[in-house]
Subunit: 347 residues, 2 copies
C-alpha cells in the first residue's frame, strides 16, 4: 500500500495570541510543554503509518523555513508553499496533483497540523482502518469524532448505514449547531464531529474535484506541468492565487455521494481555544495548567499559564485566568473572555 | 559655598521584584515611565544646587558601570565602589573622608538614589535652606517630611524647639510605630518622617563619627592614605569590608546632640512598595497606573502595570493587582499581598 500523509500547516492561529502569532502560529509552538510542537507531534503520530519520505506539508511561504527546521526528516521537495491562503480545497488539490505525478496509486491521509490526539495507538488503528477501506474503493473517508459534549464550535457529520464493520456511509454534514441542537446530536448518538482528517485514494479525490470544482482543477492541471521542474515555484506563484477560496468540505464533502466516515474515539481536540487547551493539559491540585520553567503559583485556581520563554514567574491570587507570555507580548485574561482576545490584541 | 552631593546607590530593591533585581536595582530603573531612572531623576533634582563635578555616588562594585552609563556627567573618580555592603554609616564615611581631602570645607548633602520628589522647586528651596544653616554652624541636619498619613513603614523625627526660621532642634528619633502610635504622631503635628536626606559640613559629620564610631573612623583614616592613588581600589577592597554594618541613624543621629531638622512638604516618597508607587503614578479613569509601550486594559481597576520591555500587553479582568515583567521574569499579584513578593520570588 502506497500511503502518503499530507499535513495542512497554513493556519495562523489568531485565537491563541500571544502564544500563536502570525510569525509563529500555534502548529509550530510547543503548546503542551512537552518539547515538541503540534506539527512535530502530528508527524510523530503518523510515523508508524508510512515512512517520512511519504510525508507532505502544505504551508504558507513564510513558514517553509520553520517547517524545514522543525521537520528535518521530511524531504525538502515535499514542503509545498502556498503563495496565498486559499482555504483547504486548493491546498489539498496542490498536494494531491503533485503526489499523483510520482505516485499514481497513492492512498492519502490529509490532516491538520495543529490538533491534539491523546490516544495515539487508537488513532493509528482508525487511520489504518480507513486506509484499508479506501485502498480498494472509490471512497472518500472523513474521520468522525464521537462527541463527548454538546460542542457548538464544530461542524457535525450525520452517519448513515453501516458499510463495513466500522465504516459508515455519511448521511449529511451539518453546520455548527446551536447549543440546543448540539445537545440533541449528543443524545441521538448518530452524529460525529468533523475533525478535518480525510482518507482517500489520490484518484478518487481528483475525480471528485474535477467534477465539483472544474475551474480549480483546470488551474491545477496547468500548474502541474511545472511540478518537479525549476519553473514550479514561479508557476505556482502565478496560478495558485487565482484559485477560488473554498474549503474541501464545501467543494467536495457536502456534494459527493461516495463519502464515508469512521467513528473514532481517540481523545481528539482541535485546540481551538485556551479553554479547550486547559481541559487537555495536566493540572495541579488547584486546577492550574502550567507550561513554563519556574512558575510559582499562590492562591491560584483553574488557571492556564503558558510562559515557556520566561525564567521565573510568580502569580498570586488569580482564578480562571489565562496568562500567556511569548516574545514581547503578554496576555492576562479571564478564561470566559477568551473569545475577545483576538479583538483586544489586534493591530 | 562649596556644596557637594553624595548619592547613596547601593540598595538592591528586593521588594520590587521583578522590576528591581540585584542585577538592576530600582534606582537604575525608569520606574515612573518618564524616560529617566530614579538615580537620574535624583541627579536632575540636585542639578540646580551644585555643578556635576561636585556629585559623588557610592554604590556596589557591580553597579559602577551602570552609574557611569546612566550618569555620564559625573566624574568617573567620584563614583565610589563599596566592595561590600556595610549599611549607610561606612558608605557616608567613605564619601566624606574622600571629599574632605580635596574640599576641606565642603558642605555635603547626602541623599538616597531611589526616592521620589514631586515638587522639585520646593525640594531645592528646602535643601538650600539646610545648606545655609550648616555652612555657618556645626549642625547635622536631617530633612523631615511632614506626614500625610499614619505611615507605619518609616521612622519618625520628633521636633524640638525652633532654632532659626524653618530649622528645628531634633528632640528624638522614633522607630517605626504601630498604626495607633502613627495616628497619634500625625495628630500631634510635631513628628516628621525620616527621609534619609542629610545636610552637614564635612568636618561636622567627621567629628561625630570620630566620637561615636571610632573603630570605623580608624579604618577610614587608614583607607584615606590611598585615596586618589593607584592603590585606592585595592586598599578599599581590603579595609572597607572590615567596617561594622551600621546605619548613620544608629551611629550618629540617635546619639549626637547637634541634630536639627527642616520640616518639608515637597511630595516625597521612598517608593518602598508597589502600593506607594501606585499612589504616586498617573492613573487612568479606572485607577490603573501603567508603564509600558502598548498596554491595553479591559475591565481592570486600580492595577499597577509595569511592562516597559514588552511590545504589546493585553490585560482583562484584574482588580487591585500588580503586573510587572522585566527581563525574563514576570509577577502578577494582588496589591494587598505585596509584602510576600520577596519570599515568593527568592532563589
Amino acid at each position: 500500500m502506497d500511503t502518503h500523509v499530507v499535513i495542512m500547516a497554513g493556519g495562523i492561529g489568531s485565537r491563541f495570541w500571544p502564544m500563536s502569532v502570525p510569525q509563529m502560529p500555534k502548529q509550530f509552538v510547543d503548546v503542551m510543554g512537552v518539547g515538541r510542537s503540534l506539527i512535530q507531534m502530528t508527524v510523530d503520530r503518523f510515523s508508524a503509518i508510512c515512512p517520512k519520505e511519504n510525508f507532505w506539508v502544505v504551508t504558507g511561504e513564510r513558514y517553509v523555513d520553520m517547517v524545514r527546521e522543525q521537520l528535518p526528516d521530511i524531504p525538502v521537495e515535499h514542503i509545498l508553499a502556498e503563495p496565498a491562503a486559499r482555504n483547504t480545497a486548493p491546498c489539498i488539490a496542490y498536494a494531491c496533483w503533485k503526489i499523483r505525478q510520482h505516485y499514481p496509486d497513492a492512498n492519502v491521509v490529509v490532516t491538520p497540523s495543529d490538533a491534539l490526539v491523546l490516544n495515539v495507538e487508537e488513532f493509528r488503528r482508525i487511520i489504518g482502518r480507513a486506509l484499508a477501506f479506501t485502498e480498494n474503493s472509490e471512497a472518500i473517508v472523513t474521520v468522525g469524532i464521537k462527541p463527548s459534549r454538546p460542542e457548538t464550535g464544530y461542524g457535525y457529520i450525520k452517519t448513515g448505514y453501516v458499510v463495513d464493520d466500522e465504516i459508515f456511509k455519511v448521511s449529511s454534514f451539518r453546520e455548527k449547531p446551536s447549543l440546543e441542537v448540539a445537545r440533541e446530536y449528543l443524545q441521538d448518538g448518530g452524529y460525529l464531529w468533523n475533525a478535518g482528517i480525510f482518507v482517500w485514494n489520490v484518484n478518487t479525490i481528483m475525480s471528485a474535484l474535477y467534477r465539483f470544482v472544474p475551474d480549480m482543477t483546470s488551474i491545477m492541471d496547468e500548474m502541474s506541468e511545472s511540478f518537479y521542474t525549476p519553473y514550479e515555484k514561479e508557476t505556482v506563484a502565478r496560478l495558485f492565487p487565482t484559485c477560488e477560496k473554498i474549503s474541501i468540505d464545501y467543494a467536495v464533502m457536502e456534494k459527493a455521494e461516495n463519502i464515508y466516515t469512521v467513528p473514532a474515539d481517540f481523545g481528539w481536540s482541535d485546540l481551538g481555544t485556551w479553554g479547550s487547551l486547559w481541559t487537555l493539559m495536566e493540572r495541579d491540585e488547584n486546577g492550574n495548567a502550567i507550561v513554563g520553567e519556574d512558575v510559582r503559583v499562590f492562591d491560584c485556581k483553574n488557571c492556564i499559564i503558558h510562559t515557556p520563554d520566561l525564567k521565573r514567574v510568580v502569580i498570586q491570587g488569580l482564578e480562571d485566568c489565562i496568562v500567556s507570555k511569548h516574545g514581547d507580548r503578554l496576555l492576562i485574561s479571564r478564561k470566559d473572555h477568551e473569545q475577545k482576545i483576538t479583538d483586544y490584541s489586534k493591530d
